[in-house]
Symmetry: C2
Subunit: 326 residues, 2 copies
Amino acid sequence: MSNGRSVRLWAPTARARYGAGYGKTAALRVNGASRAAKAGAIGLLLRSVGTDASRLPHTGAMRYQEGVPRIPAVALSTVDADLLHRKLGKGETVRVRMNLSCKSLPDAESANVVGEIPGREKPDEIVLLGAHLDSWDLGTGAVDDAAGCAHVIEAARLIGARPTKPRRTLRVVLYANEEFGLRGGRQYVIEHANELQKHVAAFESDSGSGRVWGLQWNAGPGAERLFRGLVASLAVTPLEEKKGGDGGADISTLKASGIPLIGLRCDASRYFDVHHTAGDVLEEVKDPELRTGVAATAALAWALADAAEPLARIPEEEREEKARKR
Amino acid sequence: MSNGRSVRLWAPTARARYGAGYGKTAALRVNGASRAAKAGAIGLLLRSVGTDASRLPHTGAMRYQEGVPRIPAVALSTVDADLLHRKLGKGETVRVRMNLSCKSLPDAESANVVGEIPGREKPDEIVLLGAHLDSWDLGTGAVDDAAGCAHVIEAARLIGARPTKPRRTLRVVLYANEEFGLRGGRQYVIEHANELQKHVAAFESDSGSGRVWGLQWNAGPGAERLFRGLVASLAVTPLEEKKGGDGGADISTLKASGIPLIGLRCDASRYFDVHHTAGDVLEEVKDPELRTGVAATAALAWALADAAEPLARIPEEEREEKARKR
């Protein structure tokens, strides 16, 4: 019988499609072990911070605080955690055996994958289209973030197949190691330091494979004209635009250079049902939904790369990178 | 992107609600290892015979044939099997490491759980209400068959709470070990041999927790009157009745004695999505759906136990027990 507890953190509303609340709840996973250890715990059982009522646990990065005992920590599926709660609620004695085989291995070399369509007039000016190649380990990462890779690769292919190329260069960057500390994004900034002033915009798709519903952008004065015009012209879906944020985890590393940042927003109502679980597999990706993201990415990429004037850069005083926790 | 393969064995049609086809497809699992070994295989990877597109494998009983090498056998989830098929279809070399920790342990003592509401006029005449207490090991067995136990226990409770009891005795039997060879059902026949002629009917609920849609029954001439009248009088759901079969696995052992057998049929469209997987948990059971099964069970139990005349027994020539494979 359905128990009384709600197993969804968010109803499928506007907040859900945005994936709102994940950063806040993920902090329980990221910091939980050290917080518990400080209180004397010998282990942490975390109720998965995902949104699905299934047997698949939701996992992700966690950190041990210096000077605090490193206790074992596991995420239980919401269903298993609820069963545990019911038993404890009835006063039953519960014995748990934790048997973990996970471990951190030494760093290994990896690489961002970069491809370009040179601009026809200003090839030294760059519009970056980003997504990340790596994924959390339990699934195959179809939603997080193979979907984003598909968006940017297919958008570039569509544009590359046109007889006329856009004025500026389109650079597709498939970032390595987003999940484990934004290492690809940080390295890109180091290796392309001398080009950053020539990056006129950076775009990222890292919100899954659902139907696209909006663009979040951050740029200097006057930029809203481009996004409002784009939204009005696109027929694929009711597209919304909103100023703010840092576009996405990988390209957030470009904020300090003032590069205009744009993030694709896909319907995330189901995103945290499968994100970072064994359920993040190809079967979750629906072709018609994925195509809406491709269409929006291609239209945006063309508009940015072929515009007469580039967007104004993010003003100096707004360039601080928001601390990201994953 | 969704692959071209259908991942559902049955569409949600009349056949699906009946769970049609399971016996046939389960034979692949039951006999697959020995069939493969005869052909020289060193191991068997079986695409789960369940109906869900998930990462949870569907499992169940299997048998090794005498004189054939006992090769390891595993069920892959449909999603994992499809991934393997896609890789093999592209000509990729696939290496699989089989790491099994399952084993058969020696038999241990268990027991059927039996309770009665003595009849007010003919306490020696028995209407049996059955379901099974055990479950396959990956889930908690909420659907298979805690739901059936709930149906018969709650129906008996409702009848027991009435000021007037039915003419005959209602006997609730929660069978032990249905899954591993009908041991509870077979032992019941042995231990109650001297009472079998006094069993006027046996009922079983073992088709899950979904909305009830029918009764399948098997009895002698004239029995259809009771079932047609019952179906016409029940308002809980469009109930159908059909003659045939053996009521259910546990009570099929009573067929040789000619005891009229009745099986509750609940909507099984989703049954094989979770049956014998880690997903067979309490969250799958929807209270309003479960109540339809209780209502039908209670009405049927009363009708059988309070009827002026018992149903005609299954004719001698129709009493052979169908060979059951699980």
